[in-house]
Amino acid sequence: MGNDFAVSVKGLRKAYGRTVAVEGLDLDVRRGEVFALLGPNGAGKTTTVEILEGYRKRDAGEVSVLDHDPAEATAAWRARVGFVLQGTGEFEELTVGELVHHFAAFYPKPDDPDEVIARVGLTDKAKARTHGLSGGQKRRLDVALGIVGRPELLFLDEPTTGFDPEARREFWHLIRELNASGATIMLTTHYLDEAEALAHRVGVIANGRLVEVAEPSRLGNRQNAPATVSWRTPEGTVESAESDTPTAVVTELAARFGGEVPGLTVTRPTLEDVYLRMIGAAA
């Protein structure tokens, strides 16, 4: 284990009655990285994350989060870990400012609450009661409460569900900033573009097991998959060819057309293609 890993999991197992949610899961998250856990609903993502967060007991396996067993969480450990959970905690009658200030007091070395509110873009809403916030604003408040204690490790469980595209971009920017300031980030998400945009590494979980861990661009050996070259013929139809040597195909086409190839595209399988194949194979 040692100091290289913020999270280290070996042989994790958890069942609810006869339903096995997580079966022999191994996982390492390096310090300082953004790690995304992908997987369909019911694959065991939330169970895994809740065990790492200390909210759930495991049936078997070794788990170390910041060199502590989360099942025996202490206040000192909780002060180093931040959570942005799914649909948690509405304090409807309090204002954004009151809440963030109140939570800051729980931590030994908190950030300046007003500065945190500014970082999540809620300064205009600091005096607004939280029940009047939009979905995206509530989520940003969740993040403010998760980071006000200056965590070394931040868990984000499906953080941008229900965001509009612009809010999602802003949110990504915030996560990158947090990571740049030294926080390790572990997020679960349904959105592959989110994983691709944020994560240094992604892990795909299916049926309670980790199927693969890789950089987003290398998942499923994606970078070596045959490329698809397509172009438009003089007659106006679109043709395509799969090839391990797309450059050669393009050169040949360029010669054939005497220069510019109409409607030329060269693509590799998207993260989504690879992901769907993986969870399909595991099912």
Partner: protein, 265 residues
Amino acid sequence: MSVSSAELARRQGIVELKQFTRSREAVVFTMAFPVIMILIFASIFDDEIAPGVNYTQYFITGMIATGLMTVGFQSLAIQIPIERDKGVLKRFRGTPMPKWVYFAGKVFMVAGIGVAEVAILLAVSIGFFDLEPPASAEKWFTFAWVSILGLSACTLCGIAFSSVPRNARSATAVVTPVALVLQFISGVFFVFTDLPTWMQQVAAIFPLKWMCQGLRSVFLPDSFAAAEPAGSWELGKVALILAAWCVVGLVLCIRTFTWQNKYSR
């Protein structure tokens, strides 16, 4: 700027009170309900139930006890499952905040509302229904300890009972009948000694009956003690049973309190 736990508890209490006072329905329901009940019942029934004691006085002492139970038991047993469902408890659990601070905040809130509630009920009763304020320092002292001990027992039982409803939606449905039945069998609406003996015996297990009886010793003339089931106020027994419920409530809280809705995945 590390903050001491005692200071955290104080802030938590203020946050709880703020949330309460800012939700208008909660304020109106909790504060006004016993007052309205007094207005209705005291206006309908004003028979003399014993020499120098009319039904209104008897009922008002019962309503003060009921008010304490509403604040301590009913409101917490309903509010905590809602907070559990909404993930408020889970969120607190994820911070380094000591667990007891959450409960201290609730106690602070209950105490604040309890004092306000009793003050309102006393003002209304003394102003409009000829209730005599406690006549001596000794009576004031009895009033204080019965209220504090009773409210403590109700608060602890309320926190303990908050684990019974499966979710926020069922909380009101589960808690309200319990409170209402206790009011009927404990001598709030009816003179206790007029109730069937078996009902008196059941009521004597629970705190509300003893809170009512303790408060009657404060507000009713001493001559009425003879009309109580044991022919006296039994203040020693009042203290003992309320204290016992504090212990039972506390043990249940420690053993059964859950921070997450166990029925959610």
